[in-house]
Structure formats: structure tokens, C-alpha cells
């Protein structure tokens, strides 16, 4: 039986369409609908420096930065997820499996106990969370390194342990935080893209660009890594060096994203996994496709988060979980019908 896969051209067309469509939809919908016809005029308003009308304000100062941030975060999470699935040789891995995110959460909550200016968009929260993720990265490395090697099973196990311990500590710390500061903290913990501005988007973009280039540029090496250390080496890839690189880059990217927007789950696992079923496991296609689809997915999820119960906003992490689960079940079911052996 020939493996059915989408041709790259079809894939390209569809992903671009999806991303473009989701951006347009997210610009237009929300707590207030802004028609597409009105957008060009509003765009001129923005560019020409005239004082903005409320719809223009909403569009260019609230929605667009938020869409850009959501797209960036979604894309990064998906690429990180795909890379970790290759590193850990497990199609169910996600950016949070190694515990870097719990470290960020712990950092955030400890910061919440200590600082007074802690809220969802504060620099303090970000720094505390990021520090937490960095410390976790170091801890993970220390625990998992054996004779200078990074065995994948040890890494996974260490991640599970760290997740368990840190999650418990997070709950403990949350119980101690003053109720008045809980709003910001809980919203962050559940994952939200609330306060986005162009500066944050720009910074995150530059920061992530380095990591993304490093990962995408090694797509073929990732292919080899999935065959095992011995095969990889015989084909010219230093497995230890590559594993270290993936580990560090993904941890740094995850740390930054989680510190900014909390734990937005499911994208990192589901997007690459579903795409792999559709377009195959070649990372040269999978990584870029994951980036684009991950972006579109989070943009749409965020759109739902702010429109479903408008004017109330839901945490986007809730939406990703609700959207992702059933869709994934559907995909698995479809594949089961045609599969000869399970994967």
C-alpha cells in the first residue's frame, strides 16, 4: 500500500490560504464586527497619522498586534513541538513535556508572592518566569547528562519528574498568593494573549527568529536523528551535538513563549502530529508547515477566545484544548480506517 501524502504544492497553497484566512477573519471578527470593506479606509487612517476612530483603534492597536503575537507564539510552539518529537523519538511529545514550562510557572508564581507589580503583562512576571525556565533547563541538563551524553529516555523521565514536582510547588505557592493578585496569575497560568503591543511582538520575533532558523536549518539532521544515534552518526550527524542544540534551543524558545503568555497547550503536540499524518515526517516540509499551521491555529483559537462569550474573554488555553482534542480524535479515526498496521 502506498502511503498517501499531500503533494508539497497543494500543501503550500492550503497553508498559505489558511493563514491568510485566519488573519483576515481575526481582523474582522471579535466583540465587534469590522467589515472587510471598511478595512482599507481604516488602514489609510492608521498610516496617515490622523487621530484614530474607535474602529481603527480596535483594528490596528488591539487586534493586529494580538493576531501577530498569536501567530508568532503558535508557530513557535508548533516548531518546538515537532523538534522535540524528533529529539525524544516520540510523536506525543510537546513543548511542556520536559518541564521547562512548569519551571516558568513556578518562577511566575514565586514572583507573584514576592512582587507587588505583578500582572499579566508586566515585565516582572516575564522575567521571573523566564528565570524559572532557565533554571529548569540547567537542572534538566544536569540530571540527564550521563558521561557527557544526553540519553533520550533519561531526558524524558527527568522531564516527567520535574513537571510533577514543580506543578505541586506551583499549586502550593498559588495557595499562598494574595487573592488580589490571583487574577493576573491565574489568567497567565491558563494561557492568554491579552496585552500585545508591537514592541513585544517585535522583540519576540527577533528572539525566536534565531532559534527557528537554527532548527529549520537542520531539518534533514532531525530526520536522521529519528533513526537512532548510530544511524545518524553513520550518515554524518553528530547526535550528541544535535541533541544538545535541540534541547537548548527548544527550551529557550519555550521559556520565552510561556513566560509571555502562560501555558497555551495542545498546539505543540497536535499540530506537528496531525501534519505528520497528512504530509509525512520529512522535517524539511514538516517544520515550516508546522510553523504556518501553528500560527493559523492559535490565531483562530484566540479569535474564538475573545468572541464566543463576548464581551467576556476566555483564556485561549481553554480553547486550544477544546478545539484540539476532538479534531485529533477525528484524524486518528480516519487513519485507523485505512491503516494496515498501527504506527
Amino acid at each position: 500500500m502506498v502511503t498517501r501524502r499531500w503533494a508539497p504544492a497543494r500543501l503550500l497553497f492550503l497553508t498559505v490560504l489558511l493563514l491568510g484566512g485566519s488573519i483576515l477573519a481575526a481582523l474582522s471578527w471579535g466583540s465587534v464586527a469590522i467589515s472587510w470593506r471598511a478595512m482599507p479606509t481604516l488602514f489609510w487612517q492608521w498610516v496617515s497619522g490622523v487621530p484614530l476612530s474607535p474602529p481603527a483603534m480596535v483594528l490596528w492597536e488591539i487586534r493586529l498586534p494580538r493576531i501577530l503575537l498569536a501567530g508568532l507564539i503558535g508557530g513557535v510552539l508548533a516548531v518546538v513541538g515537532a523538534s522535540l518529537q524528533a529529539l525524544l523519538r516520540n510523536a506525543l511529545a510537546d513543548p511542556y513535556v520536559l518541564g521547562v514550562s512548569s519551571g516558568a510557572a513556578l518562577g511566575a508564581v514565586v514572583g507573584g508572592l514576592v512582587s507587588h507589580s505583578l500582572h499579566e503583562a508586566s515585565v516582572t512576571l516575564f522575567l521571573c518566569a523566564f528565570a524559572g525556565s532557565l533554571l529548569t533547563l540547567v537542572l534538566l541538563y544536569r540530571i540527564s547528562s550521563v558521561h557527557g551524553l544526553l540519553p533520550v529516555q533519561t531526558l524524558l523521565l527527568a522531564g516527567v519528574v520535574i513537571n510533577a514536582i514543580f506543578s505541586a510547588l506551583v499549586l502550593f505557592a498559588v495557595a499562598l498568593v494574595e487573592p488580589s493578585r490571583l487574577f493576573g496569575l491565574l489568567s497567565w497560568l491558563m494561557g492568554s494573549i491579552g496585552s500585545a503591543d508591537y514592541r513585544i511582538v517585535g522583540l519576540l520575533f527577533l528572539y525566536s527568529l534565531v532559534g527557528l532558523i537554527l532548527l529549520l536549518g537542520r531539518a534533514e539532521q532531525l530526520n536522521l536523528l529519528t533513526l537512532g544515534d548510530e544511524s545518524a552518526r553513520s550518515l554524518g550527524v553528530e547526535p550528541e551535538r544535535l541533541k544538545r542544540l535541540i534541547f537548548v534551543v527548544t527550551a529557550l524558545l519555550t521559556g520565552a513563549v510561556v513566560s509571555l503568555s502562560g501555558m497555551i497547550g495542545f498546539i505543540g503536540m497536535m499540530v506537528p502530529h496531525a501534519l505528520r499524518l497528512l504530509i509525512g515526517p520529512d522535517h524539511r516540509l514538516l517544520l515550516p508547515a508546522s510553523a504556518v499551521i501553528g500560527a493559523a491555529f492559535l490565531i483562530l483559537a484566540d479569535l474564538l477566545a475573545r468572541s464566543l462569550l463576548a464581551p467576556t474573554e476566555l483564556p485561549v488555553g481553554v480553547i486550544t484544548a477544546l478545539l484540539g482534542g476532538p479534531f485529533f480524535l477525528y484524524l486518528l479515526w480516519q487513519r485507523r480506517q485505512g491503516a494496515i498496521t498501527g504506527d
Binding site: 471579535g30 474602529p55 483603534m57 480596535v58 492597536e61 474573554e313
Partner: protein
């Protein structure tokens, strides 16, 4: 006359007493009351749906909320109060009362104080505490105020529990007078749209089922989140921009001023009427967040913020005790 036939006078006395008691119970706003007779405890269904046996004449009361403390003192039952929370700062006499610690140590303190009544707010008392008090057979009354009518009910309950029914009635009459005065002042006024910011990031405001929402309406305002779901909904900034409230209020205590970071954040949205006209104000949470005897004082202060011209007409009818 045969001894077995009750005298008419005696019968009349009973009828009057019963009638008086029935009339009393008819005045209760919400919450069923079952009178078990002049000597036994009254059982009420509190705002958490629990059946609570109120003591007739409580002499040792623990208050778990500032609003409750204020009510008890206003009912002249301050002497019966044996402990309050850290946040109870009004009236000044409350500051002399022993303060409860946090969490489990509070429960132990409570039990050791042997109160005959504990009064708290729905949702603010942990299940473990409720459990512990129930096991210690200490009556716990849970209150939830969403409107002035609820506060009147609470006044009545506390009046009964402390044997201060007369003071309770007087207080209610007084509060009603205040309410009428305020309503008269604001008669025919165009409501001012208000955004009440409980939390900046994420933006959380008050929903239609909250006490603050009702206060805003009493003060001649209109909560822009009146159609939101939930008591404390996370509101989208978009919706704020489109609703364009006339006034934005922030809760605060101490120095009632907006912080620089807050100002910088809101200055990013110059299309907002409230920002253009500088209608960003801090209101005292000690006043706003307490469904107690000062509720109309809070509404009055709020009205002064929302309708300064209307409220500045004369100095009469202001809050008085």
C-alpha cells in the same frame, strides 16, 4: 367559669402575639423563616441555602467580613463581637477587637472563642471552615448581598440574633430614607456609562449579579458590562473601546490616586471619552465593596462622581448617622 375553658382575654393575648409575630415574618424580604416560638432559636435558610439556627440573644459573635462588622456595630451590638478579620477597620471601635489569623489557625481560634454565632460571606469561607464549625456545633450564617434588599434581610437576621429587632427596624427605615433621598436627587437624570476595573491585566470588571453593579445603578450609572456573563468577567479591551464609557473607576484604598503605570496604559487609548475628559477616578474599596450600613453613603459618593452637578445642589440629605 370552668377551669378548662380559656378566658377570652388570654385568647386575645395569644392572638395578638401570634399576629404580631406573623406580621413580623411578613416583613422579611427573602429567605424563609420558621418561628419556633418565643423561647427557641429561629431557623433561617441563609444565602448559601443552609439551614441555620440563629441564637436568640447572641453574646459572642465572630464577624468574618468588614460589612458584617459594620452592621453589628451599627445595631449597637458591638459588645457582643468577640473577633473580627484583619480587614475590619470601621467603625474605629472595631480596631480594638481581636483579629483572626489566616486559614486553619483562624478556625482553631474561632472554635476556642466559643462563639454562639459566626457570620461570613458566601464564597469567602472555605469548606473546611464550614465543616469544622458544623462539627463544633457553632452556627454559621452566610450572607450574600447583591442589592439593597439583601442588606435589609441581613440587618433583620442580625437584629434577631442579637435581640436588637428595634434597632434593626430603625436602621432599615433610616437606610430607606437615604435611598429615597438619593433617588429624588437623581430623578430623571441620564445614566452615565461606567467601567469598573477590578483588575487591569487582564481586564476584569463586575458583572450584573454583583453588589457593585447595583451600586453603580443606584448612583445613576450604567455598567457597560451589564450584558456580560459571570460575576467577574474578563472583559475585552475591544469592547471597552466600542462601548466608550463616560467614566472609568478603579478600586483603591489609602491614597486614592491612579498609579503612573495605570495612567500610561489608559493614555494609549485617546479615543476613549473618559481618557479625553480625564474621567478616571479611584473609589474607596472600603466603601464600595461593603454591603453594609454605609451602602447608601457609598452610592452617594459614587453619584457625586458620576453626576457632580446634580449632587452639588445642596448639602442636605448627605450621609448621616
Amino acid at each position: 367559669m370552668p377551669a378548662s375553658v380559656p378566658s377570652v382575654r388570654w385568647l386575645l393575648a395569644c392572638l395578638l402575639a401570634t399576629g404580631g409575630l406573623i406580621a413580623d415574618s411578613n416583613q422579611a424580604a427573602a429567605g424563609a423563616e420558621l418561628q419556633l416560638g418565643p423561647s427557641g432559636p429561629i431557623t433561617v435558610i441563609d444565602d448559601a441555602g443552609r439551614s441555620v439556627a440563629l441564637p436568640r440573644m447572641a453574646r459572642r459573635i465572630i464577624s468574618l467580613a468588614p460589612s458584617v462588622t459594620e452592621l453589628l456595630f451599627t445595631l449597637d451590638a458591638g459588645d457582643a463581637v468577640v473577633a473580627v478579620t484583619q480587614a475590619c477597620n470601621y467603625p474605629p471601635a472595631a480596631l480594638t477587637k481581636p483579629r483572626l489569623g489566616f486559614a486553619s489557625s483562624a478556625v482553631e481560634q474561632m472554635v476556642l472563642l466559643r462563639p454562639d454565632l459566626v457570620v461570613g460571606v458566601v464564597g469567602m469561607v472555605k469548606p473546611v471552615t464550614i465543616e469544622a464549625l458544623s462539627r463544633a456545633q457553632i452556627p454559621l450564617l452566610l450572607l450574600e448581598a447583591k442589592s439593597p434588599g439583601d442588606v435589609y434581610r441581613h440587618i433583620r437576621w442580625l437584629g434577631q440574633a442579637t435581640g436588637r429587632l428595634v434597632d434593626a427596624d430603625r436602621l432599615i427605615t433610616h437606610l430607606e430614607a437615604q435611598r429615597e433621598a438619593l433617588a429624588a436627587r437623581l430623578k430623571g437624570v441620564e445614566p452615565v456609562s461606567v467601567l469598573y476595573v477590578i483588575n487591569d491585566h487582564p481586564l476584569v470588571t463586575v458583572g450584573p449579579s454583583t453588589f457593585i453593579h447595583h451600586l453603580i445603578e443606584l448612583a445613576g450609572g450604567r455598567n457597560i458590562a451589564a450584558s456580560a456573563t459571570g460575576a467577574y468577567p474578563q472583559f475585552s479591551l475591544e469592547a471597552v473601546l466600542m462601548a466608550d464609557p463616560d467614566v472609568i473607576l478603579f478600586p483603591g484604598s489609602g491614597a486614592l490616586q491612579i498609579s503612573d503605570t495605570q495612567r500610561r496604559f489608559w493614555d494609549r487609548w485617546p479615543t476613549l471619552r473618559a481618557v479625553q475628559h480625564g474621567k478616571l477616578a479611584v473609589v474607596d474599596t472600603d466603601l464600595m465593596d461593603r454591603p453594609g450600613p454605609r451602602l447608601f453613603e457609598a452610592a452617594w459618593r459614587l453619584a457625586q462622581l458620576l453626576h457632580p452637578d446634580r449632587m452639588a445642589q445642596s448639602t442636605d440629605g448627605g450621609p448621616s448617622w
